[in-house]
Symmetry: C2
Subunit: 215 residues, 2 copies
DNA sequence: AGCTCATGTAAACAGCTTTTACATGAGTCG
DNA sequence: CGACTCATGTAAAAGCTGTTTACATGAGCT
């Protein structure tokens, strides 16, 4: 527990005023979403976790959706960051970095289920929360850039459209994350690691475009 | 509207006793899920739609999740049925039938959003509702069978593992449905029809395995 | 005709959301 | 230093919801 300075990001109290309620509520929301899904967290329970009255959160968020949207927003940012780190500008080698990107996708879904749920599984209307769309776009831009980097490996004539590539890979990664990694009604047991399934799928896909890994 | 016999599947009333409340509740749930998502339907509102008191549904379903599970169960059955119809035993030609299967997948997500949401987007714990897992298995079995049919096109040596194929295609179809077809926080505009995106992805994937469409 | 039991209602309790009026105290300014 | 201001907290209340309990109804059987 870091107790540095006046603000303590956690649930501590220093008196009548919390000191850092906004952050404490976001942490509480993450905890609750992780435990019970995006529909299973309530303002009241987040307030209880933060040690304040049920009305206090309304000083910081208009309603539960606004809090959820803030969580999703931060999730997209972390997501984009982790994907970009994995891609690493296509180094040391484009196809290899692309696989790393896929593994990072699943690692995020596995390691940050609360963020992932807020981003992809919630009732949020993306139009009603300005900034969410832009944050999602920034995350997708990493994928797009990576697809572009891989496509550029090929000579100009045989170069596949990188937007389509990005969409296909995104769909497969998201599908695997939704179906086989995350909790949910349709989660299934796999005869292999989800990461290996995705890697195989990506390699088969890339091979078809003339982009095989060790060819 | 079929008004055959004593039961009228809709919301009509015939007196103190509803006559067909169970079915009416399922229809109400479908309507509400379609309008507001799996988290946006309540027992109370379903009861209101069916014209009964808020306590009446509990004679038929233990709680809201049980009603949701019944909807999901029926959804999996319809889903399996429509996929099987599209696949049609691999006729007239395996790869072509496989593409039809993909289109049927998206058509279901598009045409029956309420069922699809109950099946894939809900808070249901699949273990807590016996029968759900089996119903989901039946739907996946169609995909598996189709992948097997396509793989059998090839000579024994170059035949890819059909389970892996089925998982890859399922993931891509589900990913496209989740990201680009259904409502949700991450839904994005596409520069093409989702069906075309999926078809292109499937063809690229199959081509890599030596199963190109008109090759 | 009368019994039985599935299926309905009414009423009550508890939790969540959101609003309103009020309380606190941190920071600022004379 | 003392007083003002305002963001940030509380308490209380109204109106939702889910769920349980005791009671009412009437359909179908004997």
């Amino acid at each position: 527990m870091s107790w540095s300075g006046p603000g303590d990001g956690g649930s501590g109290r220093r008196g009548y005023h919390h000191g850092n309620l906004r952050e404490a509520l976001i942490e509480a929301a993450l905890e609750l979403i992780g435990a019970k899904g995006p529909a299973g967290f309530t303002i009241a329970e987040a307030a209880r976790l933060a040690g304040v009255s049920p009305a206090a959160p309304y000083r910081h968020f208009r309603d539960a959706d606004a809090l959820l949207a803030e969580v999703a927003l931060r999730g997209y940012d972390r997501f984009a960051e982790q994907l970009a780190t994995a891609w690493n500008g296509g180094r040391p080698e484009a196809v290899r970095a692309f696989e790393d990107l896929g593994r990072a996708y699943l690692a995020f879904a596995r390691g940050e289920p609360a963020y992932y749920a807020a981003m992809f599984d919630s009732r949020l209307n993306i139009d009603a929360h300005p900034g969410l769309q832009a944050a999602a776009d920034r995350a997708f831009a990493v994928l797009r850039e990576a697809a572009d980097g891989v496509a550029s490996t090929l000579p100009n004539g045989r170069r596949p459209p990188s937007l389509m590539m990005a969409l296909h890979i995104w769909a497969m990664a998201h599908g695997i994350a939704s179906l086989f990694v995350r909790e949910g009604p349709s989660r299934r047991k796999l005869p292999m690691a989800a990461e290996d399934l995705l890697e195989a799928g990506v390699l088969i896909y890339l091979q078809s475009l003339g982009l095989a890994g060790g060819e």
